[in-house]
């Protein structure tokens, strides 16, 4: 066990070193870590509670603008809530939704994809047709539909996002499994008397996991955007929970007079997704041996 921990630690250190040599991956990682810290320590970092404010303080501009005050760095919204505090709390929703929905999609896609690709046959036909059926729907439209049926709420949101998103992982894992399956090391494993389960989890999976990790990273950004879109439309997390999408929506009517109400959470969203994509693409460069140019 200790040995395994040590090996994993060594591999992680090696990966970290490679990331440090890849500027855009490093930038992405740093911003990402900052967001995660922000979300984790929201109660400590946020100057105000997210949902309290007084109407007397409404529409205060950001600190650097005329009329702004250092007490509210990024200004306040239409009911006087501190935008910075709400952005900090909003990071929790975005990150949770992004990570959780991708994690579930990944596990589902990984299991079904591996079964489908390894065994083929009727299971593969059924699962593949079902996946293609789901692919035919535009993602956002599909999510809106599911949310309309389930109603708003954190877990419903996760369900709506996961319901279609596993297909991406399924297709990737299935394809990779099919191509790995024909390789000689799989035949050798079979000649060694390994069971199918062991061959899939112990031999094939370690060979394809890097592309799954890359896809997962990139999908987190996409999920966060979709969550924000749904929240913007008012069918995301429950009202009252600070989410960036609904904050943008809050400021929609005042864009001309108080631009910061919508813009600030939008920028927070932009920066996070940008960081995730930078990191994800950097990770792909690092992990994909086919792209390696030294």
């Amino acid at each position: 066990m200790l040995m395994r921990v040590r090996t994993v630690a060594r591999n992680l250190c090696g990966l970290l070193y490679l990331i440090c040599r890849h500027p855009s991956a490093l930038i992405g990682l740093v911003i990402l870590v900052a967001y995660v810290v922000m979300a984790l320590f929201a109660p400590v970092l946020a100057p105000y509670p997210p949902n309290t404010g007084s109407v007397r303080q409404s529409f205060l501009p950001p600190a650097w603008q005329e009329g702004g005050s250092p007490a509210h760095l990024l200004g306040t919204d239409h009911v006087g809530r501190d935008i910075l505090s709400r952005i900090i709390y909003g990071a929790r929703v975005s990150l949770w939704v992004g990570v959780l929905s991708v994690a579930i999609s990944m596990v589902v896609g990984l299991v079904l994809g591996a079964i489908s690709g390894y065994y083929r046959g009727i299971i593969d036909d059924v699962l593949s047709r079902f996946a293609e059926l789901l692919m035919a729907f535009p993602f956002l439209l599909f999510a809106i539909g599911v949310m309309a049926i389930l109603g708003p709420g954190f877990f419903n949101l996760i369900a709506a996002l996961t319901f279609k998103s596993w297909v991406e992982f399924f297709r990737l894992v299935r394809g990779e499994t099919i191509s790995e399956k024909t390789k000689e090391y799989v035949e050798a494993a079979r000649a060694q008397g390994q069971s199918n389960f062991r061959i899939v989890t112990g031999e094939i999976l370690p060979n394809i996991i890097h592309s799954v990790v890359v896809l997962a990273t990139l999908r987190v950004g996409y999920m966060i955007i979709t969550e924000a879109s749904l929240s913007f439309l008012g069918i995301g997390v429950q009202p009252g929970v600070p989410a960036w999408g609904s904050m943008v929506d809050d400021g929609r009517d005042y864009v001309r007079t108080a631009w910061w109400v919508s813009t600030m959470p939008g920028l927070a969203l932009l920066l996070l997704v940008l960081a995730i994509n930078l990191f994800g693409e950097g990770l792909r460069d690092i992990l994909d041996p086919r792209l390696k140019v030294d």
Binding site: Y185, E187, A188, A191, G193, Q194, E203, N207
Partner: protein, 321 residues
Amino acid sequence: MLRIHNLTTEFPTRRGAVRAVEEMSLSLQRGQIMGLVGESGCGKSVTLLSILRLVARPGRIISGSIHFEGRDILSMAPAEVRRIRGADIAMVFQDPLTTLNPVFRVGEQIRESLRVHRIGTGRTSRREERETVLSLMKEVGIPSPESRYWQYPHEFSGGMQQRALIAIALACRPKLLLADEPTTALDVTIQAQILELLSRINSERGTAILFVTHDLAVASEFCHWISVMYAGRIVEQGPVDEVIADPLHPYTEGLLRSIPRLVKPRRRLSPIPGDVPDLIGLTNRCSFESRCDRRMPECAERPVSLVDVGGGRHVRCILYE
């Protein structure tokens, strides 16, 4: 120890069934090395895969029996076959680089092969397993095993990779080693080393080896017995020295004539004219007839079977019936 009787393995295609192996019979005693020689596509590899019941679908074994230590592999339950694979019968493949899993360290892969068949028979500690792996690596001639243990397959040279594969195959002390052209991907000097290693394993451990090769020269140096295959069938079988010195079947003769000689007198190579026949719709008549320089009108009319000509030699040719 191993007795194959009338094995036929078939691959259905749109144009009809391809009989990759037909009526193959062969037996191998403990501690013997049997060479299975023939050109590409003659069914050598399929024979090996059939022994382990690993013929890929849609291919299937349609008849015959394969007895290993008295039990018929073909009638065993899948779980029983799996217990034999790797433990009693191990296999060494042709291309060592692709046969090793690229993402695991070589030592760990050898250790993994120990673990596959140790489940349930008492726990061995990681340290003991590593000791075993290191001694295996030493036995197959991998220098400085302690540091080699932690290297990845691509950090090994071709010869070292093949040694690692042999170590994996030997891990569970198999009684029979199936070697599928283990030296083909290697250059000649390395080839000789690997062959030497295999014969040392054979003499020290008493492991029987079924050695597939297309290289008659390699087979003649290394094997005790030899079976020459052509178009899915065995055409000649016997002790290696006698077959080489006095080939009976015209195909074996042809093979021997097409080996280049380095010593004088050099002579012009005489390749066998023509191509291997289409394996679809072969009859039980001689399949070498169209390329044979000793064919007779009778060849195209009468079926031929493997005849015992005495001295442990068998031949499938109308000349000896």
